[in-house]
Symmetry: C2
Subunit: 249 residues, 2 copies
């Protein structure tokens, strides 16, 4: 299909994904800021509140957008997009680390046991796999130490794992929302208090963000068209990794 | 790649998915049967226990396997596979309805409020969309009332929505596990009791089932090869839906 015919729906879908992503960050901020006492870094419950905000911002919104750049800027040179993809993921990684430190530090100060819940099991598995995926991406694609054929074999795995990690991040966030609500408002949750409705809405917004993003990323027609500068780039990388100059035949 | 070269890994992956799917059903049965007092249909907590077992069996295991049949029997005539796909989904639908009746009946008897939690919001949305997807599949593909071109446009949406529904079902199950554990063993959950570890393990097994299944279903090389009998079938359907006999040019 003609690219210009696809463009309006594509732009609309990307716009919707951004509204949903930003809404999820704002809703998390409002929930923690307004209903849970705000933010601090002092070992209290206010330090815990940094955790959901960082995870939704880092592992959901930024991770989603890092994946989306390949579709949004699909006419830009691939090496620039690779760099942008890596930088947004690095930002997501740093923000996620802050989120993890916040919850472990709060648990330590409040003498709360660590990693016993399904939320923590899923969250830690997701974060561990995210770190491995980031490192592998760095080694294979930004500083390619693997051969061109190995990179080509790894690419579909990297793409599949990226989407799995985004879905796992959203799933872990939903588990975190449920856990936090049952710890905080179990006695009133069934009476549809504003906090419960807001947090449930946050969960639904996160799911919608994931669905729209996965749709845009997996839709065949929205894929990156073959680019004339990609072949020389891959040839350059092959020569580089095989220890030869790209100018040598 | 040659089909015979792909077959061992494919068979191994399908085997792993079946072990994970069956393990999730068995673990749910053991959790509800051994730790939560077993099963009954009398409005008590034992009736509630039917709910998780039915949802994991119907909306996760059977829904997953209904999707998988297109890959496992990819050399069989497509009309047979369509029928099998529809029948397994019908079975999943019936079992899910029993699961839904169980929880609503228990809530009614025990005077517990309905649909206030994120688990119930996600679960009901998933089930509602599952019903719509099943009906649409029935109308478009088993008793095709739509034109061939409309069916061809709808197919990728049907496939995408099917995977989204499987992932949503697994996500809703994980939320249900967390909710049930916090209602039942909140005071001891952090001490890693056997029930908590078993239920968390069930959650991880469900995630692994989803990942393996999505991998097998989305991997390009495992797709159904074009089949000579599919073209005449689609022509037949087009004639049927356009009110002409297939023998008429």
């Amino acid at each position: 299909m003609d690219d210009s015919a696809l463009r309006p729906t594509f732009s609309w879908l990307v716009g919707v994904s951004q509204v949903l992503g930003l809404a999820s960050v704002v809703l998390t901020g409002v929930w923690m800021g307004h209903y849970r006492g705000g933010f601090a870094w002092d070992g209290t419950a206010q330090e815990f509140n940094v955790h959901p905000l960082c995870m939704v911002l880092g592992l959901v919104f930024l991770q989603g957008d890092a994946i989306l750049v390949y579709r949004v800027f699909r006419k830009e040179p691939k090496k620039n997009i690779k760099l942008l993809h890596g930088i947004i993921h690095l930002l997501a990684l740093i923000i996620s680390i802050v989120g993890f430190v916040a919850v472990f530090d709060y648990h330590k100060q409040a003498k709360i046991a660590d990693v016993y819940s399904l939320h923590s099991w899923c969250g830690i598995a997701t974060f561990g796999l995210f770190c491995i995926q980031w490192l592998m991406g760095l080694l294979f694609f930004l500083f390619p130490v693997a051969s061109a054929s190995l990179r080509a074999s790894y690419l579909p795995i990297h793409v599949f794992c990226g989407l799995v990690l985004l879905v796992l991040s959203i799933g872990s966030s939903l588990l975190g929302i449920t856990e936090k609500l049952l710890f905080a408002i179990m006695s009133t949750y069934s009476q549809f208090p504003a906090e419960g409705v807001l947090a449930n809405t946050l969960g639904i917004v996160l799911v919608c963000f994931g669905v729209v993003l996965c749709y845009v990323v997996t839709k065949e027609e929205y894929r990156r068209p073959p680019n004339s500068e990609e072949e020389p780039l891959s040839v350059y990388f092959r020569h580089l990794t095989e220890g030869r100059s790209p100018t040598t035949p």
